[in-house]
């Protein structure tokens, strides 16, 4: 038999010669990795900076300061500050008068145009002001009112003065008025109190995310309350209790498949089951939360099972060996040890649910709802749907508001994740 083994000197020579090549391969791999990470980081930076730059102005808007004569007789004719009385008052007329004293419009047409310069929310703003501070009656105080979105866009330079009047959204007359207001120093660029406190509105200068924000919180709460216990219970049952047989295998395969089902399908299912069969109302966070719970369940189950599987079997052995029952092993040992992993999965699921639009469109959470939902049974909408709706509107100002809302959504997401990480760190055993 011939010796197939190479002699040691020759072998070491071959190894030595191949070293350079192997090193180069290693380095190349490292380089590729760095390039990939570099790309990813660049994209991230680009994405975030573009969102931030576009969205940042959305938090601000132009206001006009007017000297309002708080005449109680006219604002609050019945004198009891009731909604009815304030509604019958002449709040918007007073605001218009204050405006007219500054810009002095001549003729009916000019007056009509001038009236539209201040946002149509002016009367509500005024009545809210006197409601919270009745001491204002009898005084003449300066109050800031939001300017109409077209003027806002003009002041930002999106609507150009050079454009011929016929192609412009605002007339020469209004531009003259704006110039006049500006000269008197009555126009200011300030942090918008509508973006955070306002709700859905057809007037972009008054639109805000409050309703959608609370809608999101309610929807996510319902989703979490359903999906987390259900998901953890399912995972525990499948991992710890159920016998491994054809049925559990089938269930497992189906859960994995469910995780890959497009979310809109869950929306259709929610529409068919919750709304058509059970006759629940449309547009409510309860149904939205249930649909999202169905969607996030597979994610939670899969990650919870992985977390349970990662619990060392020696701990189970120890507990069983000392005579713990199955329930005691699960609740005293398996779940506490798997909890950080389960929470991670839940947070991923929740983040997914927070950003979900499609299934909610199906169950009518896309409706135009001005009121902030107070309970899970009130119709509402959620942040991503609000963003989706705003992105659809034609007014220039909605673009900024959309970007601002995206920033808020991202902030919501990041704070949620931060909370989850904090929770996980706290629950993680230090030994």
């Amino acid at each position: 038999m011939t010796n197939k083994l190479i002699n040691p000197t020759r072998a070491s020579e071959i190894v030595k010669n191949s070293i350079a090549k192997r090193r180069a391969k290693d380095n190349r791999l490292k380089l590729y990795g760095r390039i990939a990470i570099g790309f990813a980081v660049c994209f991230l930076i680009f994405l975030f900076s573009s969102i931030f730059i576009k969205g940042y102005p959305g938090f601000f808007q132009y206001y006009v300061t007017l000297d309002i004569n708080f005449d109680r007789e006219r604002i609050d004719p019945q004198g009891d500050l009731s909604d009815n009385s304030l509604f019958n008052g002449e709040a918007s007329k007073i605001v218009n008068e204050a405006l007219f004293t500054i810009i002095d419009p001549k003729g009916r047409k000019a007056k009509k145009q001038a009236k539209k310069m201040v946002s149509s929310g002016k009367d509500v703003r005024l009545t809210n002001l006197v409601k919270s501070n009745p001491n204002l009656f009898g005084t003449i105080s300066s109050v800031k009112f939001a300017l109409d979105d077209d003027i806002d866009s003009f002041l930002r330079g999106y609507i150009k003065r050079e454009t011929p009047e016929s192609e412009r959204r605002i007339s020469d007359q209004i531009i003259k008025f704006v110039d006049k207001l500006d000269k008197e120093g009555r126009i200011s660029y300030e942090f918008s109190d509508y973006i955070l406190n306002g709700s859905a509105s057809g007037n972009p200068e008054m639109a805000g995310i409050k309703g959608a924000f609370f809608g999101s919180i309610l929807t996510l709460s319902v989703c979490l309350l359903i999906a987390f216990p259900l998901g953890v219970a399912t995972a525990v049952y499948l991992e710890e209790v159920a016998k491994k047989n054809k049925i559990t295998e089938l269930i497992e395969v189906n859960i994995n498949n469910l995780a890959a089902v497009p979310s809109v399908v869950f929306g259709i299912m929610g529409l068919a089951i919750f709304i058509s069969i059970f006759g629940m109302p449309r547009s409510i966070p309860l149904v939205g939360g249930m649909v999202l719970a169905l969607m996030t369940l597979p994610t939670i189950i899969i990650s919870s099972r992985a977390a349970i599987r990662a619990v060392p079997p020696s701990v189970r052995d120890a507990a069983y060996g000392i005579g713990a029952s199955k329930l005691q092993v699960i609740f005293h040992h398996v779940i506490p040890l798997a909890m950080p992993g389960m929470l991670t999965g839940t947070i991923i699921g929740m983040a997914q649910a927070l950003g979900e639009t499609a299934p909610l469109l199906m169950i009518g959470m896309v409706a135009f709802i001005v009121d902030v939902p107070n309970s899970v049974m009130d119709p509402g909408t959620v942040l991503p749907v609000q963003i989706f709706m705003w992105a659809d509107f034609a007014e220039r100002m909605f673009i900024q508001k959309t970007s601002a809302a995206i920033i808020i959504l991202l902030g919501f997401l990041i704070s949620m994740n931060a909370f989850a990480i904090y929770l996980r760190k706290k629950l993680e055993r230090r030994w």
């Binding site: 491994k244 120890a318 507990a319 005579g323 713990a324 030994w431």
Partner: protein
């Protein structure tokens, strides 16, 4: 009373004294299967009262599997099936009526790898008494914990840090903590599955000393790879080979005058 000798099918292989006059555990014709694989083949043996018996044999001979039959730990393995009869004080532990929870409280177990719970030293020992409701109040529990740790020879080393992590102890200390945990529920039998295989010689010596002492209080079944260890700690030794119980006898006799040729081959180092 059924005649002991006729209570089981004739043994075709085992030599030596499988029976004990003062038996606590009796295994009769035990077969264990993993799926279709027979891991334990017709084993019959008695475990005496307050007796230290060691199971020796080459790797994969089924000694650990057989050990785990005594507290039904094999139940946790889906594919595992046990046939035959094991009695604890004339009660078949594989009877349908038997609940494994009280059984495992009576038959404690110490595992190959020290496996304290990721909890404090105190909670590790107190866990058993807590779940079985053995303690009347906090003082009583404190007493149980202290005495268990003392018996396991760990009290002196840890009494000033009972609330620190059990997993922060050294390997040998962890294993003694596991023994203390087993003792805390006052078992009658303690099963030890290669308790020293992950430990250094000094820690091993301590555990062996401990086993020696505990042998006065409990029946101890110890599975070991080390023949020296078997010789040091046990009064009786059982030799397993390929799922069969080859020979049982006084430790002294097994190591000096084995009756079976396979036992002889093993202890003289020819196999295993």
């Amino acid at each position: 009373m059924i005649n002991e000798e006729n209570d089981f099918r004739k043994l075709d292989l085992t030599v030596g004294d499988v029976f004990s006059k003062d038996a606590r555990l009796k295994a009769r014709n035990v077969n264990v299967f993993y799926g279709n694989n027979k891991a334990i083949d017709n084993v019959t043996i008695d475990i005496g009262n307050k007796e230290v018996i060691s199971f020796i044999g080459p790797s994969g001979c089924g000694k650990s599997t057989f050990l785990r039959c005594f507290n039904r730990m094999n139940d946790t393995i889906d594919t595992c099936r046990v046939e035959g009869k094991i009695t604890l004080e004339d009660e078949n532990i594989y009877d349908r009526k038997i609940d494994v929870v009280p059984l495992r409280a009576r038959i404690g177990m110490v595992f190959q790898k020290p496996n304290p719970f990721p909890k404090s030293i105190y909670d590790n020992v107190a866990y058993g008494p807590r779940i079985h409701g053995l303690c009347e109040n906090k003082d009583h529990l404190d007493g149980i914990v202290e005495q268990s740790l003392k018996r396991a020879g760990l009290w002196e080393e840890v009494n000033d840090r009972l609330l620190s992590a059990g997993t922060g102890l050294s390997g040998g200390q962890q294993q003694r903590l596991c023994i203390a945990r087993a003792i805390a529920v006052s078992p009658e039998v303690i099963l030890m599955d290669e308790p020293c295989s992950a430990l250094d010689p000094i820690a091993t010596a301590k555990i062996e000393e401990l086993i020696h002492e505990l042998g006065n209080e409990y029946s101890i079944v110890i599975v070991t790879h080390s023949m020296q260890q078997a010789a040091r700690v046990s009064k009786r030794t059982a030799y397993f080979h390929l799922g069969k119980l080859i020979e049982v006898g006084k430790t002294k006799n097994i190591f000096t005058r084995p009756k079976h040729s396979q036992t002889e081959a093993y202890i003289s180092g020819k196999i295993g």
